[in-house]
């Protein structure tokens, strides 16, 4: 299991807990956090919705941000990205 706060080479600046929220809730929460965060921030979202596994990385790619990884935890996943622009 990865360390809950630090991922291999980045520190998470802001995390949103969207566990228990349904599709497309976790993605919507991530988008809101991304909008509000300064460029360069490392952001993450916790989701227990199985749809997020494909939806969140797809959105990050479409939006042109850097996807830093998905880390499976107990019953949920932490998705990490960098706001590159």
């Amino acid at each position: 299991m990865p360390d809950p706060i630090t991922i291999p080479d980045a520190r998470i600046d802001r995390e949103v807990d969207a566990r228990g929220s349904f599709c497309p809730g976790p993605l919507m929460e991530l988008i809101r956090v991304v909008r509000a965060a300064p460029v360069g921030s490392v952001l993450s979202v916790l989701s227990s919705d199985p749809g997020s596994a494909k939806d969140i990385p797809a959105w990050i790619q479409k939006a042109g941000y850097e996807f830093l990884g998905a880390y499976a935890l107990e019953g949920y996943t932490r998705f990490v990205m960098r706001k590159t622009h």
């Binding site: 349904f22 497309p24 809730g25 959105w59 479409k62």
Partner: protein, 138 residues
């Protein structure tokens, strides 16, 4: 072709409005220009205040209705109206009312929820839908 998604929302039942609103949200999140055209019962569902009391379910699935509404409440699933508001917040999503239906019911734009942005005719909708990558009738 435009990166646009056009939804024709004909149904006013919660199950179908839910599907339409989630598609609109997904489209807006993925950067598509989303246009939701409301006609008939779809438009009736946007009459001011109606959504707060709407528990209608597609006739064939009526027996699942109470269970679905109960689960939605228990799991705090956002309502279709909340999904549409989220779609508008994160992307480019417009809700348009069909002028003919509006006239048929004897309503004006003021009788509708504020999320309805404009009133258009079918020709305008079709003209824009012809350039859409995705067009769905719900």
């Amino acid at each position: 072709m435009k990166e646009r998604m056009s939804l024709i929302v004909f149904s006013g039942t919660v199950d179908k409005l839910m599907a339409a609103s989630i598609l609109a949200t997904g489209g807006a999140a993925m950067g598509l220009e989303v246009e939701v055209f409301l006609t008939n019962w779809g438009l009736a569902a946007f009459r001011k205040g109606d959504y707060k009391e709407n528990t209608r379910i597609t006739k064939e699935y009526e027996d699942f209705g109470p269970m679905m509404m109960q689960q939605m409440q228990a799991k705090k699933v956002p309502s279709w109206m909340e999904n549409l508001k989220a779609a508008k917040e994160v992307g480019d999503m417009k809700v348009l009312a069909c002028s003919m239906t509006l006239e048929l019911f004897g309503w004006t734009k003021n009788d509708l929820e504020p999320i309805v942005e404009d009133v258009t005719g079918v020709a305008t909708f079709v003209d824009r839908a012809k350039d859409s990558r995705i067009t769905l009738f719900i």
